[in-house]
């Protein structure tokens, strides 16, 4: 079964190998194939959580990126590792939007829905565009699957799917048939069936098989039979498209006009980890990560644990508190200290965050937000931890807060968080979320040399200047003009000092209960944070002044931008700006907002940034909130923006 698909294909043009179908002509009369050109396509893969939909989606993404399209993805999976097979709870989905123009979101709805079983169809049919294509695994619609999905009648037999283009195939049976000569059990054979669907889609979208064949080579290096089986089924899926006359239409999407440069596909979590690594290298500070496994942050722990060749130490702690505490210990020791978590873990870290802030040690705390409160919906996305990041500690405990807005933005923002922490001797909270963490997009990656420098200021016993008293004693809390103290690490003679969570006297750091000193220290620590220089906020898309400004933060970036692109196309005076720095705010934020008649703040929460904006700037900013565990749809946001423009609302 290792022959190329064309060799099994007696009906179509002979000699067509997968490598050679980069045809330019739009029609191939001999094979009755037509190529239709599409500018933008959204495909959703849906199946049981054991069906390998995430892997299938990941491979299709890689192939899409290599084909030169812009893209965005949205993996959507259950928290249960193996929910009961065939049930709605067990449905795992992966959506990809790819296009010849810039792509900002994974798409509100899909054009193509792949449903591996009845539950996958039931859970996702409403997101399929009218007239969209359905690729259905008929074997997933037997009596048991229908019962588990809650279908009284087989949807493949009734009228319910009229209005969609249906491609039904017996994926399970065809996979088993393809593998009949392989020495594998039925279960193992069935695990290859996602490759059949992937092969078929590669045929449908005119993609080469090589990147996935190479991937399978690497993944199953030690299991040659499994590797060969997966590759054979991938070929078979491709050949199935080629040989079956039912499917006569194939699609081509022209290459996107991307900025010149070298690209790779990247997820938010991967880019975050790389940003931390780059900061460690650039600053020459060895990195220490303290982390406790939690969805959706664990992948950063996994990734960094593989960076030992860079001197990165990772510590899987006994709990969230130990994870941040160990990081504080490493920061005291002079290392780049990081801890990663998600909302519930952030709640546990609260007291230690206060300690890090009192100690004035650098620490990067990354919260990959998920739907809360409490355990909430671990695999669903949300932006509801902003107030927690800003205020979720006892006492007056200010710290910088930054937010990542997309997978490709994560590298730079994580790097910036490290730079601020190290140069300003403060814990920094970096917010990401599940949607950014697992979503992927093309990334024009920078070279490390092009990144700005990171310059920690360590106490030098030979040049203590003001940081020394008349007795020659080191003053650990003496500050420079930025109000930043020097970093003095154990091991350096003459800098011996004690730090702690008790209020400290200015300069000496000795314990102090003096009332004026306390007020002074509270104000000084806040001023230190608010003086951190932050780049001015710029309009991301749209005019510099107009009717409505969409002011976003975090993962709503793509939706905001895509909405503005559409509305500009309708001739509306709307613009989009997106905050990376939430504390301190960019200095020009008030002026920028004042150039628009209205400001709308879309958030995947019940209104958090909007409160800050209203409080701080005394403007009637409009909240726009969805709290469904999924990204905001641009059609909904567009409607809300239009409602703020009298002319558009009346039209």
């Amino acid at each position: 079964m290792s022959e190329s698909p064309s060799a099994q294909n007696g009906q179509t043009a002979a000699g067509e190998s997968p490598q050679s179908h980069g045809r330019e002509h739009a029609q191939d009369a001999q094979s009755q194939e037509r190529f239709e050109t599409r500018q933008e396509v959204v495909i959703k893969f849906a199946g049981d959580s054991g069906d390998g939909m995430q892997l299938t989606g990941g491979q299709f993404t890689n192939s899409t990126a290599l084909a030169g399209h812009d893209l965005a993805t949205f993996p959507d999976f259950p928290a249960e590792i193996r929910a009961p097979v065939g049930t709605l709870a067990g449905v795992s989905g992966f959506q990809i939007n790819f296009a010849s123009r810039p792509v900002y979101t994974p798409g509100d709805r899909c054009d193509v829905l792949v449903a591996m079983n009845a539950a996958a169809l039931k859970a996702n049919l409403e997101s399929l565009e009218p007239g969209g294509q359905l690729i259905l695994n008929r074997d997933g619609f037997d009596a048991k699957n229908l019962r588990l999905a809650g279908y009284d009648e087989n949807p493949l037999e009734g009228d319910g799917l009229q209005g969609y283009v249906r491609h039904e195939m017996d994926v399970t049976r065809l996979t088993r048939e393809c593998l009949k000569d392989y020495e594998l059990g039925t279960k193992e054979k069935d695990r290859c069936k996602n490759m059949f669907v992937l092969g078929f889609l590669y045929w449908m979208y005119d993609r080469p098989l090589e990147p996935t064949l190479d991937f399978l080579d690497r993944k199953f290096q030690k299991l040659p039979e499994v590797k060969a089986a997966n590759q054979a089924v991938l070929h078979a899926g491709y050949a199935y498209g080629d040989t079956t006359e039912t499917f006569s239409t194939r699609y081509r999407v022209p290459k996107a006009e991307l900025e010149p440069g070298t690209y790779r596909s990247i997820t938010g979590n991967e880019a975050t980890g790389l940003g931390l690594l780059a900061a460690s290298r650039k600053s020459r500070l060895p990195m220490f990560l303290g982390s406790y496994p939690i969805t959706p942050a664990s992948d950063i722990l996994h990734q960094l644990s593989g960076f030992k060749r860079f001197g990165v130490r990772t510590f899987q702690a006994e709990d969230e508190i130990a994870a941040i505490s160990a990081a504080i210990g490493a920061a005291f020791g002079g290392h780049l200290a990081v801890t990663t978590t998600s909302g519930p873990g952030m709640a546990l870290k609260g007291e230690a965050l206060g300690l890090a802030m009192m100690l004035e040690l650098p620490l990067v705390v990354i919260n990959i937000q998920r739907a809360g409160p409490s355990t909430g919906m671990p695999t669903k996305t949300e932006q509801a931890d902003l107030m927690q990041a800003l205020y979720g500690r006892n006492g007056e405990c200010p710290m910088p807060v930054l937010a990542i807005h997309s997978p490709s933005d994560a590298f730079e923002t994580a790097y910036e968080a490290c730079r601020i922490a190290v140069e300003h001797m403060t814990p920094v909270i970096l917010l990401s979320d599940g949607y950014i963490a697992n979503g992927a997009e093309p990334w024009r990656f920078p070279s490390a040399a092009a990144m700005p420098s990171i310059q920690p200021r360590f106490a030098d016993p030979a040049k203590l200047e003001k940081a020394i008293n008349e007795d020659g004693q080191f003053l650990p809390y003496a500050r420079d003009e930025r109000l930043v103290r020097a970093w003095a690490v154990p091991g350096v003679p003459d800098l011996e000092h004690r730090i702690g969570g008790l209020e400290k006297q200015a300069d000496t750091g000795n314990v102090s209960y003096d009332p004026d000193n306390h007020e002074n220290m509270v104000k000084t620590r806040a001023a230190k944070i608010d003086r951190i220089p932050v780049a001015d906020l710029e309009i991301d898309l749209g005019p510099e002044e107009g009717d409505v400004l969409i002011l976003g933060w975090g993962s709503t970036y793509g939706t905001c931008r895509a909405t503005v692109r559409d509305l500009l196309g309708e001739g509306l005076a709307v613009a989009h700006a997106h905050l990376r720095h939430i504390r301190p705010f960019p200095a020009n934020l008030g002026d920028l907002m004042a150039r628009f008649r209205r400001v709308i703040v879309p958030e995947i929460n019940d209104g958090q940034l909007v409160h800050l904006i209203r409080d701080r700037f005394l403007i009637d900013a409009v909240p726009f909130n969805r709290i469904k565990g999924t990204p905001i749809r641009k059609e909904e946001l567009a409607a809300a923006v239009k409602a703020l423009i009298p002319a558009a609302a009346n039209a």
Partner: protein, 382 residues
């Protein structure tokens, strides 16, 4: 710049300018004094000692020791130490905790520190009461303890700290008391000499809220009868005239009057390397007021050489970086000033790790960083 590694220090060099603010008569004073007496003799320069504590009376300790120190948050010192020691293995780290800090709010971190065997000396000041919060019962208070929050007596069963430590696979377990300075100093030295987590429980009198909790073990009238000081290779003997010994009947310790009731040759000879016998020692935990109570053991119950967490971690790192060994791992630019501010690349005192890697290795890692950022599959848009 002082070169503390060659100057002989005294206890005074380890005192700070801060007033010690424990209650007059507190057992903590004695422990502080013994620590300050022992530190000059352990052969480690002052700047390479770090005292890390949590919250509680005992946790004020770092403020009174002139070295690097951190008074952190309640119960978390073992976790902070794990991060500090992992990154700075050359430091001598002393963890100061109490029965509330270490066994109640920080119990989880304590057991994980012990199982990981991070090389540090953990001094658990056990006074069987909450002092700083003014007199509630603690996880080591005896059942029935009448305290601020237990007017009818505590219904909690107490921890046996030594047994807990052994249960968590501690590689070194010892017990001392505030009122036997000489023995305490010896135990501090043994703790320092052990490579791994040294768990030293110190019976400490809180003369305000739990005065006399350990008097039966510390008063010279009752001490001989109620304590047994174990020493490697020596029989377990006790009593005013050292006339009693302990022998093992199976796993059961049995006291006898040697000479009269049997030969001293029958006595249980202490072996620190035996985890079973160490457990029996830890379980000799009778209420001393009860008739026939076994004497309470003091000394090193158990000492075992086992790889430490940071040694294992740093060996992995050094191998991954193709370095000759963990001693070649860079400590980072903060340590470039360890030589007295003469700039980067200056080494610390002879036996410490370098601040940076050699330039050619740094350059190689920068190139590897670019390759890692690029990943396996890239494409170029012209």
């Amino acid at each position: 710049m002082s070169d503390t590694s060659t100057v002989q220090l005294t206890a005074k060099d380890f005192a700070t300018d801060q007033d010690v603010r424990w209650c007059p008569g507190c057992g903590d004073y004695s422990i502080l004094k013994q620590v300050q007496s022992v530190l000059p003799g352990i052969g480690i320069p002052r700047e390479r000692i770090a005292v890390i504590s949590g919250i509680g009376c005992s946790s004020r300790f770092p403020y009174y020791v002139n070295s690097y120190g951190m008074h952190s948050i309640h119960g978390r010192a073992p976790a902070i130490v794990t991060g500090l020691k992992a990154t700075r293995p050359e430091l001598s780290i002393w963890v100061v905790t109490g029965d509330g800090d270490g066994l109640s709010i920080g119990g989880n971190h304590l057991i994980h520190l012990l199982r990981r065997n991070v090389n540090c000396n953990l001094l658990l000041f056990n006074n069987q009461i909450y002092g700083l919060t003014k007199g509630q019962y603690s996880p080591t208070s005896e059942a029935g303890k009448v305290a601020k929050s237990t007017p009818l007596g505590s219904v909690d069963h107490p921890f046996n700290p030594a047994a807990l430590a052994l249960g968590a696979d501690a590689s070194f377990v010892a017990r001392a008391m505030d009122r036997d300075p000489k023995h305490l100093q010896a135990m501090l030295r043994r703790s320092n000499d052990h490579h791994g987590t040294s768990f030293l429980e110190i019976y400490q009198n809180c003369n305000i809220f739990n005065d006399g909790a350990f008097f039966i073990f510390t008063d010279k009238d009752t001490k001989p009868q109620h304590t047994v000081f174990v020493e490697q290779g020596q029989p377990l003997v006790f009593g005013a005239q050292r006339e009693y010994a302990l022998k093992l009947d199976g796993f059961k310790p049995v006291p006898f009057k040697h000479g009269a009731e049997g030969s001293l040759d029958e006595a249980w000879v202490h072996d620190e390397s035996d985890p079973i016998k160490a457990t029996i020692l830890a379980r000799m935990f009778d209420d001393p007021r009860n008739e026939g109570a076994l004497p309470r053991p003091f000394g090193v119950f158990f000492a075992q050489t086992r790889e430490t967490y940071e040694d294992a971690l740093n060996a992995q790192l050094a191998a991954a970086m193709n370095l000759e060994g963990p001693a070649h791992l860079p400590t980072g630019p903060g340590m470039a000033f360890a030589g007295g501010g003469t700039g980067p690349q200056k080494a610390d005192t002879a036996d410490a790790a370098p601040a940076f890697l050699p330039p050619e290795l740094e350059a190689e890692l920068d190139a590897e960083l670019d390759r890692t950022i690029a990943g396996k599959d890239t494409w170029t848009v012209q």
